[in-house]
């Protein structure tokens, strides 16, 4: 099986993106050699696990350094060169902390909660198209799969909050439930707009549909508004400032993960950062053209030049920009109050989402967007 990538490089000009996922290769080789399929599965699992750990450490280190430079200080410097090994030290220390389960806590749910949040994140990581060749599985109901899973993550917070037998964490859990469930509607509406434009639910199909241009500027006003709606709703869904009321430090002393210590707290901590990457990856896939290089209509030489940069670099570059924007939010905005948060969702974002949906339908039917198909 020659690498699709070489074939693409041979053809200069308008490269045709032929998407081959690990799942396709595994199923293709299933009949003749079953062990090759198993090998593909193991490679996929190891890849996701390594990605979670590497991304987690990288993002934690990145957040601490970026936050430090936002605040005119230096951030971790003494652990390794410029503090690079800081997350390694944190992780090993968290591994070896004493593991405390509160006395009258509901033991099973208390132990289950951190894994639930992390499992949901890993499931979403498996679907995202990093590049035409690096996609683990192209689920036919891609966008529906994403919204369903992001709804599941609230269970972990709720279980964690309720089961640690602590008033503060109960309050944190309740707030998390209210917030994540209500902000899912706006996120789903924003995703619906893109599926209407691209016509398919599969994520690679959506990325392919942005060959002429990314949805954010190709669908002019509607695209920009739905991207804005999605960023706000997604930040609320992963509990990052200005929506971090479930674990508002200064109010609830620790919110739902007050009673967690050591490795279990590390899972919550890791899940929060991987969620940040997941949300920016989804934004990039749907609005900023995934691994599709930046192209302007018929400027041949410009498009060829852009085509030279490998697609995975495009993807990770764009999501790095989105992650930076989320960190920027965290270190500038204060925290909202619970009822203001609810009012913002139900009275402002929801009507905006519905109007946006209707306008998108009109724009699509009358083909008022750039390069209508």
């Amino acid at each position: 099986m020659t690498l699709a990538w070489l074939k693409i490089m041979a053809v200069v000009g308008q490269p045709t993106w032929e998407v081959v996922t690990v799942a396709d290769r595994a199923s293709a080789s299933l009949e003749s050699r079953w062990y090759v399929a198993v090998a593909y599965m193991i490679v996929a699992l190891v890849a996701v696990a390594a990605m979670v750990v590497a991304l987690g450490m990288g993002l934690i280190y990145g957040e601490r350094k970026i936050a430090a430079h936002f605040q005119c200080r230096m951030g971790p410097m003494r652990v390794g060169y410029h503090g690079i090994l800081q997350s390694v030290a944190d992780t090993i220390k968290l591994l070896l902390k004493e593991d405390i389960v509160p006395a009258r806590a509901d033991r099973v749910l208390h132990l289950l909660a951190p894994f639930l949040t992390l499992v949901v994140t890993i499931l979403i990581l498996g679907v995202i198209p990093y590049s035409p060749l690096m996609q683990l599985a192209d689920v036919s109901i891609g966008v529906l799969y994403l919204t369903a899973l992001s709804g599941l993550s609230v269970l972990g917070l709720l279980l964690g909050g309720w089961s640690s037998n602590n008033k503060w964490s109960l309050l944190g859990g309740m707030r998390a439930a209210a917030q994540v469930i209500s902000y899912e509607i706006t996120a789903t509406l924003a995703l619906l707009v893109v599926t209407m434009f691209s016509g398919t639910l599969t994520l690679s199909g959506i990325v392919q549909s942005q060959a002429q241009g990314w949805w954010v500027w190709r669908a002019h006003g509607v695209g920009v508004l739905s991207m804005a709606l999605f960023i706000v709703a997604a930040t609320a869904e992963i509990n990052r400032t200005p929506f971090d009321i479930p674990e508002g430090e200064s109010e609830l002393t620790g919110g739902f993960h007050t009673e967690y210590s050591g490795l279990r707290f590390a899972f919550f901590f890791l899940a929060e950062f991987i969620n940040m990457f997941v949300v920016s990856a989804i934004t990039v896939t749907l609005f900023l053209g995934g691994w599709m290089p930046f192209r302007i209509g018929d400027w041949e030489s410009f498009n060829n030049l852009m085509g030279l940069i490998p697609p995975s670099l495009w993807f990770f570059g764009k999501s790095a920009v989105m992650v930076f924007v989320m960190m920027w939010f965290r270190w500038t905005f204060p925290r909202m109050r619970v009822d203001q948060l609810m009012r913002l969702e139900w009275k402002i974002l929801l009507p905006l989402g519905f109007c946006n949906l209707v306008v998108a339908a009109v724009v699509i039917l009358s083909k008022w967007y750039f390069f209508p198909v």
């Binding site: 936050a67 936002f70 605040q71 005119c72 200080r73 008033k167 503060w168 309050l171 400032t241 200005p242 971090d244 009321i245 508002g248 430090e249 200064s250 109010e251 609830l252 002393t253 270190w331 500038t332 905005f333 204060p334 925290r335 909202m336 109050r337 619970v338 009822d339 203001q340």
Partner: protein, 387 residues
Amino acid sequence: MSVTVRTLDELLTPPTAADSPLSTQEYFVNMGPQHPIAHGSLRIILLLDGETIRKVIPVPGYVHRGIEKMCEHMSYRKIITLTDRMDYLSALMNNWAVARTVEKAAGIETNSRIETIRTLMAELQRIQSHALWWGVLGMDLGAFTAFLYSFRDREIIGEIFEETIGARLTMNYIQPGGLMFDILPDFAQKVKKLLAYMRPMINEYDTLLSGNAILQERLRNVGILPAKDAVALGCTGPVVRASGVPYDLRKVEPYGVYDKAEFDVVVGTKGDCWDRYYVRMEEMRQSIRIIEQLIDNIPEGQYMVTKYNARLKLPKGRFYGQLETARGVLGVFIYSDGNGDTPYRMHFRSPNFNNLWAVTQIAPGWRIADYIAIQSSLDLVIPDIDR
């Protein structure tokens, strides 16, 4: 005349189960001695119904070292060191309050150089204290960056204090009868450089936090304290001025050289958290105005009128002196029995002690997140409550 003495545990008996199946049961929550909102050790017990507060029971005393008992064994010069540890964010003004009361009682006359330097130092400390309040308010409401910016500016003022006084926090600088050290020759030039740096910084504070829609929503008409209640609740300082009462000792009973400097008292209208926020931000600018007018012509003269270890003989009687610290009126009540320089009884009217009680009247009806905004807008320093 019968007196019933109750204990805290009687108060904390959990209320009976909810009367109707639908209504939720109220429960007690401990914003205990170790809580991010209590910058120190103040325990606040909230009776909550869901997230709305029904009752607030403040329980101070976790930093009560019995300063007033210690004052009965120490001479006035030693008491000055204790006052630094009460409201450590306006340590100089605490020293000045005790020094001023003792000087008035003992009849010591200080010259204009001492008074000018005292006023300058007090105003510098007021800017430093309000800057810390602003940073901590930002941190409590979630904008952690504000905390770092405020400390970056506090350090610069701290350097000026360190050069002239030798200490960053517990100053022990203003003694009855003058000052411990004279100011350095380049003091005025350094302060001018600081003011040139600080004035745009306060505008930067505004752009970072004040203009933020989320902060405005969190602070506007939250925790309203009407003017009549503010005075009845004994609140003083920015808290009462935010409710519209122009009660500022620097104008009402001018001391030091405040009558020479021309500045205006910042008064709020509604008395909500936003007014308390706005009043303190404006007070920082007024303090800069005061310092600018005084910094150029610091009169010459001795910096210490009496000798250091001269015994201060106070006549028999009750003396009460007060001045405006960054948080309100600090009063020093001395009853001396006339022999020796240790007071028979010394009592501090602490501004935070009286401002704290307003929380029990403002907070019921609001939510936990509002309680955070209310308490950090009151700008409490806990060791000043417990003494």
